[in-house]
Chain length 331, copies 6
C-alpha cells in the first residue's frame, strides 16, 4: 500500500470528518487525527461512583461524518459500552453518518455454535453496534472473515498485512534460510498468504497426530525449521501460552533464529514478562491495541510496534470522500 497524498481532494460527500475516541485508544486516535490534519473532537467521559459512564460532546455534530475510534480491548465490557454510548450520543445529536472504528473487535472467537447451548457472542456484539446507531464499521483482521456477515451494515475489514508485510520483507531480506511457521491449523491459510508474499516456505504446528502411533499425541511440527530463520505468525497473543509452546518446539528442532509476528497485542496480565523471557529474537506487532509502558519495558527493543494509524486515516478519508478503499490495496 502506498498512502497517497490527499491535499487536492475537494468533494466532501458526508459532511466533515469528526473523530471521537473513547478511553481505550487515545494515542492511535491522535495519530489518525494527525494524518487527517484535524483535531480529535472534545468530549467528556465520566465514570460515576455507581460505575455508570456518562458522555458529553463539546460541540454539535449535526450533519457531520463521525468516527468513533475505540479498541474493545481489556477492560472489554467497559470499552465496548463506552463506544456504544458514544455512538448513541452522536446519533441523538443528529450526526449524518457514524462509523464504529474498532481496530480490535472483541468476542470474535465466539463466532459459531460448535457445541450445543453456547452463544454466538460476535453476532450479539454486531447487533449491539447496530442498535446503538452505527451506520458503518471498520476493523482489523477478524478471527473469521465470515463475521462480516454478522453485520447488516457495510464495513471495511482491513488487514494488518498491509502494514506488516514491508517490515517483514525487510527482515526476510536479511535472513539466509527463512521459513514461515503457523502455530495453529486454523490460522494456516493466513500464514500461507504471508509466506507466499514473502516467497518463503511454510511449516506449521499441528496439535494432533499425523500417524497412529500411540505417542504421537504431542505437538507435531510439519515442515523443516532446522537451522532456519523462523517467522512465527499469530493473530492475537493473549496469555502467550500457545506461542510459548510453539517457540519451544521450534527451538528444539534447531531453529537458527525466531521472530514472532502477531497482529493484536491483547497481552493479558503477566504475558508480556513471560513472552520477553522466551528465546525469541524479535517481536513484531501493531497498535490495534495499545500496549502499556510497563509491558513495553519488558520487551525492550526486541519488540517493534508497526502503526496502523496512517492506513486507518487514509481509509477514513476515502470513506468520507466516497472513494475506493480496495484500490488502495490494488484490489
Amino acid at each position: 500500500m502506498s498512502v497517497s497524498p490527499h491535499s487536492h481532494v475537494k468533494t466532501v460527500m458526508y459532511g466533515k470528518v469528526r473523530l471521537y475516541t473513547g478511553t481505550s485508544s487515545p494515542e492511535l486516535a491522535s495519530q489518525i487525527a494527525s494524518y487527517l490534519n484535524v483535531n480529535l473532537c472534545d468530549r467528556d467521559i465520566v465514570t460515576f461512583p455507581n460505575d455508570n459512564i456518562f458522555v458529553k460532546l463539546h460541540k454539535s455534530v449535526r450533519g457531520q461524518d463521525c468516527y468513533v475510534i475505540q479498541s474493545t480491548s481489556i477492560p472489554v465490557h467497559r470499552n465496548l459500552m463506552e463506544m456504544l454510548i458514544l455512538i448513541q450520543t452522536l446519533r441523538l445529536d443528529s450526526a449524518a453518518r457514524i462509523t464504529a472504528v474498532v481496530p480490535y473487535l472483541c468476542y470474535t472467537r465466539s463466532d459459531k455454535k460448535d457445541q450445543p447451548r453456547v452463544p454466538i457472542t460476535a453476532r450479539l456484539v454486531a447487533d449491539m453496534i447496530e442498535v446503538a446507531g452505527a451506520d458503518r464499521y471498520m476493523t482489523f483482521d477478524l478471527h473469521a472473515d465470515q463475521i462480516q456477515g454478522f453485520f447488516s451494515i457495510p464495513g471495511d475489514v482491513l488487514y494488518a498485512y498491509h502494514v506488516l508485510i514491508d517490515p517483514m520483507k525487510e527482515l526476510v531480506s536479511k535472513m539466509e534460510k527463512p521459513v514461515m511457521v503457523s502455530p495453529d491449523l486454523g490460522f494456516a491459510k493466513k500464514a500461507r498468504n504471508y509466506a507466499s508474499s514473502l516467497d518463503i516456505p511454510l511449516a506449521f504446528i499441528e496439535k494432533r497426530r499425523l500417524t497412529n502411533a500411540p505417542t504421537a499425541k504431542a505437538l507435531t511440527l510439519i515442515g523443516d525449521v532446522t537451522d532456519r530463520d523462523c517467522i512465527v505468525l499469530d493473530e492475537e497473543i493473549s496469555t502467550g501460552n500457545t506461542i510459548g509452546t510453539a517457540v519451544k518446539l521450534i527451538k528444539e528442532h534447531g531453529a537458527k533464529s525466531i521472530t514472532v509476528v502477531f497482529i493484536h497485542p491483547v497481552l493479558s496480565p503477566g504475558s508480556a514478562e513471560m513472552l520477553a523471557s522466551l528465546p525469541v529474537d524479535n517481536f513484531i506487532t501493531t497498535d490495534t491495541i495499545p500496549i502499556s509502558k510497563e509491558d513495553l519495558a519488558f520487551f525492550g527493543d526486541k519488540l517493534k510496534v508497526i502503526s496502523i494509524a496512517h492506513l486507518l486515516g487514509e481509509v477514513i478519508l476515502r470513506a468520507n470522500q466516497g472513494r475506493s478503499v480496495g484500490q488502495l490495496f490494488n484490489e
Copy 2:
C-alpha cells in the same frame, strides 16, 4: 401483598420455568428457586484471559420458559454483558420465552437529554436487552417510570414498597412522632406515597432557596423534624454523600431518631464504612443488589436487608402461569 400458596396451580402455558443466574445475584436467585421449588439451572460462565466471557448451558431449554436473574450492579458492564450473553444463548437454544429479571437496572439515571449532546443510555440498555432476545423484563423501582416506555417488550416493573411497607409500619408503630423525609425534590412523589401509606407527615430537603435572601443557597429543610423520629427514604445509595448531608441537616434540626430506608444498595467502595459512621439509628434496604460481607460487617445489626426473593418468585410464577400480577397487589 400476601403471597398466595400455589400448589394447586395446574396449567403451565409457556413451558416449564427455567431459572438462570449470572454471577451478580447468585444468592437472590437461589432464594427465588427455593420459593418456586425448582433448582437453579446449571451453566458455566468462564472469563477468558482476554476478558471475554463464555457461557454454556448444561441442559437444553428448548420450548421452556426461561428467566435470567441478574442485577446490573457493579461491575456494571460485565454484569450487563453476562446477562445479554445468557439471553442470546437461551434464544439460540430455542427457548420458548426469555425474561430478563434485573432487580437493579443500570443507567436509569441517564434517561433524558436535559442538556444537548448527551446520551439516553437507559434507552440503549433497553435496546440491548431486546436485541439480545429477551421477550419480557422484570425490574424494581426504576429511577423514572417512563423508562418502561423505552422498551418495546412488555415488562413487570415492581416496587420494593410491597416488601418494605410492612417492616416500616412496624417501625412506625413504635415511634412517637414519626415523619417521612425526602432528601431530594425528584424523589418527593414516591416519598409522599410511602408517607401516605404510613399515615405520617412529610418533610423534604430542597437544594435551592425558597426565599431570595443571598445566603439561602444552602440546603433547606421543609417541614418539621425537631424531636421527631425521622425516616429518610431514598432510591439508591451510591457514595452516600446525599444521604450523609441529609442526615447531618436533620440532626442539626433536632431529630430525635433517624432511620434511613433505601431501595437499591449500590454502595460504591468506601460508602458502607462512611454510612455506618453516621448518626443513623437504623438502615433498611433490600437485596436488589447483593451486599458484600465486608460491607455488611460495617453496619452490624444497624442494617436490616428485606428480601425481594419471595415477591419475585411469585411474580415469575404468575407470569409463567398467565395469571395477574397486579392482583397480587390488589390493583
Copy 3:
C-alpha cells in the same frame, strides 16, 4: 437566545427546506415560512364524507428537506392522522428527509404505567410518527423529558423558556416582591429553573399534608405569597381547574397580584371564559397551539401570546444546514 441573521449561510446539506402544514397550525407555519423567507408548500387536504382525509402535494419533494408543522391539539386524532398522512405522502414522494414539527405533542401525560393494565400512549404516538416515515422530530416542553427516549429517531425538544424568559424578566423588573408559584409538585423542578433565572423565590402548592393533622388534606401552600406579586407557572392549561384552584388559594393567602404563565394553551371548551373570570392580572402563553378568536376575545388584553415561530424557524434553518441548535441557547 439571540436569533442570528442567516443571510450569509451557503451550504445546504439536505436539499432545500420544504415547509408543509396540516390544518391545525396554519398561522404558526406561515410565520415560520416568513422567518425562513420561503413559501409554505401548497397541498390539498380534503375530508371525504366517510371522514377519511385525503392529501395531495402540488409539487414534487424528491430529494428535499421537508418539515411538517402540525400541533396535535384538539381535535387530537384528526390532527395526528393528518400529520401522519402528510409524512407518509412525503416519504412516498422520495423526500430526502422528513421532520415532524409538533409544537404540542398529544398524549404526553400517558407516559408510564403507574397502575396495571393501562397504556403508554406517548410511546404509541412516537411509534406511529416513526412508522409513518419521519426521520426527525421537533417539539416543545414535553410533559416528561424522558419521552425523548420513546423515539428511535433523533429530535429537538425545545423549551418555551427561551421565548418566555425575556417577557417574564421585563414583568419581574416592574414588580416589587415577585414570587414564582408552582401549582403542582410534578412541575416543581421546571418552576425552580424559571425562578432561578429570574432570581426570585419559589413557592408551591402541594395536594397532600405536610403535617399529620387530620384537617390537612386540603391544598397546602408552601412558601410566602402574602403581599407578593405571584407568577404561577404551568405546563398546559386544559380545563383550567387546577390553575383556578391555585389562583383562589393564592388570593386567599393575600397575593398582591397574579400572573399566570403557561406554555401550551390547550383550552378545552369553556375554559377560556372561566379563566378570564379569575382574579388574574395577566396571562402569558405561547402559540404552540392556536387560540381561537372567540377564546382570545374572552381574555381581551389580559392575555399575551408569545410566538415560538422565530425560534422554530431558526432551529429548522440550523437543522437544514447541519449547524448546532444547542449553541443557539449557549449550551
Copy 4:
C-alpha cells in the same frame, strides 16, 4: 356457511378468548360474546378534556388470546386511535396474542398512488395496527383484496357474501325476472360473483361512453333492466349519491322493482334520509358499522340489517382453537 355447534371442542391453544370492544361497535361485540358464551371484558375508556383517550382494563390478560372489536367508522380517527390504544394496552399487559377485529377498515380506498404525490393511507393504517402490537387482524370486504398484502401479519379477510347470500336467494326466489346491477366498473367482479351464485343475469352502469357519440358522456346502463326486479349491489354507501344516480337511471329504464344491497353502511350525515326517499323497495345491509336509531327510523322496515356477529364469533372461535376458517365456507 353452516355455523357448527362447538360445545364439544376441548383444546384451547392460545389461552382463553378475551373480547374487548372500543366505543364504536358495542352491540356487535355483545352479540359475538353471546355467540361465544363469554362476557365482554370490562375496561374503562375515558376522554380527557384535552381530547386524549385513556384506557384501563379491569382484569389481567396475561397469557390470554385477546380480540379487540372495533369498526373504524365515523368518527374514524378517534375510533382508530381507541383501537390502537386498546391493542397497546393488551400488549403491555402481556397478552399472549392480540387480534384486531375491524369489521369496517377505514382508508381502504386510499390503496394506491394513481396520481403522483398522494398517500397510500391504507398501508399506513396497516402499519399502525402492527406497530401498536396486533398479531393478527380480521376484517370484511376490503375495497381491494390486495390490501391484505399491506399487512405483515396474517389475517382473516371475510366476506359479507356468506351472510347476505341466503337472504338474497330468498328474495330472488320470489322475483319473476331478477337482474343484478353493478353501479360501478370497479365493483363489477364482485357483482358477477353474486350474480353467479344467484344464477341471475348481470347488468352494470358505466360512467364513460361505449360509443364515440358526443352525447355519450352520461351514465350508460349495460344489460337489460326493463320490467325486471333489479338488485343493485354496492360495497359501501357513504353519501348515497352514486346509488341515487344508479337508482334513477334504472328507474328511467323501466325497472319493475329495486333492491339495494350494500355491505358497509357508512351513511354519512344526511344520507339515510335521502336514501329512504329513493324509489327503492328494499335495502339490505350488514352491521359491520352500527346504524344510529335516527337513521334506522328513516328507513323503517324497508331496511333489513343482516348481522355478521355469528360469523365473526365462529371465526374467532376457530382462530382460538387453531381450526380452519376456510373450511367454514367449504373452501
Copy 5:
C-alpha cells in the same frame, strides 16, 4: 411526455449515477446508458457448476447513486436472484443509494389471497428486494397498482402508456372506425383510459353471461366491433391463449382489422409462433422484457417494439437530481 435535454443540469445530490445490469436486460440497459451519456459499469456475473451465481464489481461504488436494471422475466428465479445479489453487493460496497430498476416485475399476479391457503408472492418479492438493500424501486405497469403498497420503500411506477400513446394515436389517425377492445374485465379500467386518450369507443369481452340463458357461458363481446378497426389492449402476453381467443371472437364478429397492443412481452415458449399465425394486422409492444431474435423472426414486420429506454433514462436522471418525475407527464 417530452423528454427534456439535460445538458445544463449541474447539481448532483446523491453521488454519481452508476448503472448496473444483470443478464436479463443488457440491451435496454445499454440504451439507458446511452441516454444518460454514461457507461454501464463493469461487473462479473459467473454461474458456478453448483448453479450458484457469483458477482464482482470492477470498481468501487462508495457513496454513489446506483441503479440495477434487471427484468425479472424468464428464467424468473435466476433473474430475480441475480438482481438481489447485485443489490446486496452494492450495499456492502457502501453505495449511497440503490435503486432496483425492474421493467417487468415478476409475481404481480399473486397479489392477494382470493382463496384460502395461497401465498401473496408479490409481497414476498417486495420484501426480498428490500431486505437485499434497495432504497428505491422503479417498474412499469404493475398488475395492480396496489402492489405499490407492498413496498416500504418509495418507488416510481411508470406506465408504458407514455411511450405507447403516440404510436397508437398515429395508428388511429389512419383508421376509419377504430374501437378499443379489452379482452378481460380486470383490465377494463386501463383500456378505458387509453380509449379516452385516443377518443375512440370501448368494447370488451366478458367471460361470463349477461343473460341467464343456459348457453350464455361462452365469451361475450360487449360493444360494437363489426366493420371496425379493433385495437386489442392487454397487459402481458404469456401463452397468448387469451389474446388468441379474443382475436377469434372479434374476427367472428366481423372486425375489419385487428391491432394487438401489449405492454409486457412475456412470450412463453411457443407463443410467438402461435401469435404470429393469428389474423392480426399489427402487434405493438415494449421492451420491458427482451424478445429473442427467434421470436422476433416469427413476427416479421408485423411487430413494432417501442422502447422504454429513454423514458427510464430520464426518470433515473431526475431521481438522481432530485427533480420531479410526475412533472415529466404533466401531472
Copy 6:
C-alpha cells in the same frame, strides 16, 4: 446416535407436526414422514407459463407446527423460491411455527468478502428465509459454522457425521492400514475430527508449496498413503474435479484402496460419469440432495447412500416436543 423410540411421548407444545415439501426433496420428505408416522401434507405446486410458481395448501395449518423440507440444490433458485413461497403461505395461513428444513443450503461458499466488491450471498439467503417468515431452520454441514450467525432466528445445524461415522467404522474395521485424506486445507479440521473418531492417521493435500523450490507449485501430499487404504473425505462434490485430482495424486503415491466419502452430492451435470470412472473402490454419501437415477446408474453398487431421514425425523420430533437435540448426540 441412537434414535430412541418415541411412542410414549405425550406433550405436544407447538401444535401438531405438519410436514410440507417442495419439489426438490420428495423422497427424503416421505421417509421423514414415515419415521414420524404422519402423512406429508398435500399441496399444489404449479408453474405458470410465465415461470411463476403457485402454491396452494390443501388443509388449514392454523396453529400447527409446520416444517418445509426442501434442499436448495440444482435448480437452486427455483428450489429456493419454492421454499420461500411455501413458508410465506404457511405464515399467511396462521401457522403457529414454521421451520425451514434445508438439508443442503445453497450459497454457503459465498460467506465472506475475501476480496472487495463481492457479495455475502449466504447472508442474503438467511435474510430471505427470515423475511419469508421462518421461525427456525434446520440444515446439515454448513460450509462454515459461522453461517449460523447470519441468522437471527435459532436453528439446528446437524452433521452428517452422526449417520456416516458408523458405516465408516465398519469400513475401517476391515482395512489393514487405513488413513484419512483431506483434499483441501480448508476442510482439514473436519477431516481431523473424523480421523480422531475412527482412530486413524490423517494426511492431506495442500495446493501450495511447503518448500521454496521452484517446482513445488504442484499439489503436495502431506502424510503417508503408500500401501494404505485411503478414505478421502470431502464436503460437497460438484464437478468432481478436486476429488479427481486428489484421487489421481493418491494413486500415484501408491494407495492400496480408495474410498471417497462426501456429504452433499451436488453432482453437476457430467460429474457422476466422470467420478464413476475414477480408480475409486467405494463412494459413500448422503441424501441431503437427491441423486437422479441416471447418476446412480453410473455408480452402480460402488456408491452407498446413507440416509439422513431418520436423524432429521428425530430432530423434528424433539423440536416439536421441546426436547433436547444435543442430548441425541450425547452433547
